[in-house]
Symmetry: C7
Subunit: 94 residues, 7 copies
């Protein structure tokens, strides 16, 4: 079990074969290449300069859209996970 | 349905054929190339260092002018959407 | 009608033929090339980290001096407008 | 005995032969190359701009995942240690 | 009349022939090339993040030493003016 | 006698011959090359944006580990000193 | 007379012939080349973001050690002065 630190989030990424999530086909522009996945774990959040902690804006189970080149990838029990910062998640797919 | 996070906004962009919105023809200078679109969804806003959340400055339905190279593009049900940060929206067309 | 967002300002720029405004001839150094224009619309202002909004320092109708390469240019009903940030306005010509 | 300063943490790194920790095989993307280790000592934490000290988010004994290129390596009594900043620790392996 | 905005200051620069002001001969090092002039107008000052305005540190009439490459030059009624930021003024010559 | 300013610290560095301090052999990675020494003098500390002064985290007499390329070296009475910032000290050797 | 602004300090630098001040011979590393001088004038100090002014950490008459490439040099009545920021002064020589 991976417990992400700070504003990090553990994502179960989609396979290459499934390029659509919830019917969404992704078109990338030159700057950002989005990818989709499911949130498996969230950290406690980012600490602001006034000492308060800001909770991540996603919850476990959310389907999310994020920048494909963001984060650190980890393989565990044959599955591929991604650990990325909350700010790199672009949108939740509802 | 895409729910943008933070200060992000989902925009329905204009087709290449329609280069004018509300009669405005866009002339780009070397630095920024503006484009127009309609706001479909807005995030909760940016969190300031004092912990308060600053609501985005546009509302659903607004016609907006933004930097063409800003944001992440997504195709959904044959339409083209753009997810960009509130600060990349230059003006509202009234 | 263009409503600029944040600390942005809509400027009606001068024609190339009119290189002087109020008798001022502009000499550019290597770093900044100033240009003159009239303020047509102002945004609500920049939001400070304490949550307060700082009003732009110019008013509608002001003749202003700004950096020629700043901002986004827009053509509307045959006129040329410029949308730039309040901080890029160098001086008001009184 | 090494006492790390500020938000630094002393890590006992894994040998090259043990590429898995807790069954996790690490796959690196182009940006970050994670590595695992055990926390031996933690500093007092980072001082925020309001003067408060923010304790590190890991404890002595934690198995952690961190960026392989982060930190300063030190050899002591034939073992290899790494001193890195708390923010470079990606996740705790539970 | 030019009214500088924010922490800007309008300077009446010295002619090339007058390389000394108050008996000071300027020697430039590789990093900064100072020049002298007289303050003609000052802005209201810089707005701090707490919303307070910080008045410029020079007054109208001050002889000042500044970085030659700083600011925006403007010609008006045959005279050469320079508009620069308060922080680019190195010293007052008394 | 050298009195370091701000968050600076004066260090008496080790000779090249003594590559170990307290039995520690230093192995450098590509990013940081640590070195050891003894603290001779400490400044008053760094001033935070709220006006409070943050005392340095080391004391006179501490054996410390620091980045070899940090700071300014000074020779005095045949000895070699290094003046570096408190943040460049990685750990205290106890 | 030069009155430095903000956190600036006017320094009377040493001649090339006098390479030692108070018996200190300076050895430069690759990053910073220190030089010595005497403080002739100090500014009012740096203004913090909370509006308070932080006095410079040196006084008139102090012998100081600073980075040789910092600041702006000025010749006045045949003497060489240097105007530099308080933060570029490394230590006071007592």
């Amino acid at each position: 079990m991976l417990k992400p630190l700070g504003d990090r989030v553990v994502i179960e990424t989609q396979n290459e074969e499934e390029k659509t999530v919830g019917g969404i086909v992704l078109a990338n522009n030159a700057k950002e290449k989005p990818q989709t996945g499911k949130v498996l774990a969230v950290g406690d959040g980012r600490v602001l300069e006034n000492g308060k902690t800001l909770s991540p804006s996603v919850n476990i189970g959310d389907k999310v859209l994020f920048d494909k080149y963001a984060g650190t990838s980890v393989d565990y029990d044959g599955k591929s996970y991604l650990i990325l910062h909350d700010k790199d998640i672009v949108a939740v797919i509802e």
